[in-house]
């Protein structure tokens, strides 16, 4: 029997899935959440004097990195199904991501990118 957009996907129908979940509603809510975060990201440019990330506190980069990470993992977990798929796929993806992060943090550190202003 064909499923409707309001039905849960039975575990045995969705290839590789280990947990049943309702679909389209979750996807639309996720997209709204991502859109809201994007608005906040753009606000860091449009309203630079907002107390949370004003020049006074110098928190604009940490705030942007946190928002970016939230968006990144939300897309990976919900839209790319890592939340619902077999854990092996999460490990495969994270292995590439972690290796890339470690390698390039090492590269940036080699170029003294984190403390160049103080030492040059």
């Amino acid at each position: 029997m064909a499923l409707t957009s309001h039905d849960d996907i039975p575990t045995d129908v969705l290839d590789g899935a280990v947990k049943p979940y309702s679909r389209d509603k979750i996807y639309v809510l996720t997209a709204l959440f991502l859109a809201a975060i994007t608005v906040v990201e753009v606000l860091t440019y449009a309203a630079p004097d907002f107390p949370l990330w004003s020049h006074e506190h110098n928190l604009i980069v940490p705030v942007l990195m946190i928002l970016m990470a939230v968006k990144f993992f939300t897309v990976a977990y919900i839209f790319m199904h890592l939340r619902f798929d077999k854990p092996l796929l999460t490990r495969v993806f994270y292995s590439g991501l972690v290796v890339a992060l470690l390698v390039y943090i090492a590269v940036l550190s080699t170029f003294r990118i984190w403390w160049s202003d103080q030492h040059n």
């Binding site: 957009s5 969705l14 290839d15 990201e41 753009v42 919900i78 790319m80 092996l88 993806f93």
Partner: protein
């Protein structure tokens, strides 16, 4: 109750089982080789884009030519970013549609995703044209080379994604994309979402982080 169809059966046999059919992959992991290969490919792509983003970070303060924040049009790029983000929604709705056997909506969502992707690329071409006219050529500075290489590589990835989406749309229109092949759409979807998350990274690091 869903009926199990084994991967080694013929396409005709699998088509006969369609509707709520489930392909049980006879691999060690229980995951199809195609899907696992796509995830491995995406993991390796993290290294590619990591290298390009790192290069950009190293060279983001140019010694000559326009500086990033003299030429960036943040409202325009924000709109492009929003369009690409929403294309991830239409992509996942396309996967959802084929998994429940709704081919009409599959085509609508695939078409919408390709259209949103094409809009993003059109925006990127426009942005590059404006930057070039303002004096930022590929060889103007190390910053410009790093910027065009990073965003250009991403643009090529989006373009490849659009080609795959249009191919799926044509296959669907010809009736060659039955429900039991939903994994094909899912794998293309994984690629598309990855392109989106790379842009999430680029948008924050390249455009929004102040110099």
């Amino acid at each position: 109750m869903a009926e199990t169809v084994y991967a080694h059966e013929s396409v005709a046999q699998a088509d006969a089982h369609a509707a709520a059919a489930h392909i049980e992959h006879d691999t060690n992991t229980g995951i199809s080789n195609t899907k696992l290969a796509m995830w491995l490919f995406l993991a390796s792509e993290c290294l590619l884009f990591g290298g390009l983003i790192t290069t950009y970070i190293l060279y983001r303060n140019p010694l000559e030519g326009p500086t990033p924040h003299e030429i960036y049009d943040i409202p325009f790029t924000s709109t492009s970013s929003f369009i690409l983000l929403m294309s991830s929604l239409t992509m996942v709705l396309a996967v959802s549609a084929i998994e429940r056997g709704d081919h009409q909506r599959l085509r609508v969502w695939l078409g919408a995703t390709a259209l949103l992707g094409a809009t993003f690329i059109a925006g990127q071409v426009y942005e590059f044209t404006v930057f070039y006219r303002e004096g930022l050529g590929f060889t103007t500075s190390r910053f410009s080379s790093a910027f065009y290489t990073l965003t250009g590589f991403h643009g090529v990835h989006v373009t490849v994604g659009i080609i795959m989406l249009v191919s799926l749309l044509v296959l669907s229109l010809r009736g060659k994309l039955p429900e039991h092949r939903s994994e094909t759409v899912e794998v293309v979807g994984l690629y598309w979402h990855f392109v989106d998350i790379v842009w999430i990274f680029i948008f924050a690091v390249v455009y929004l982080v102040p110099s």
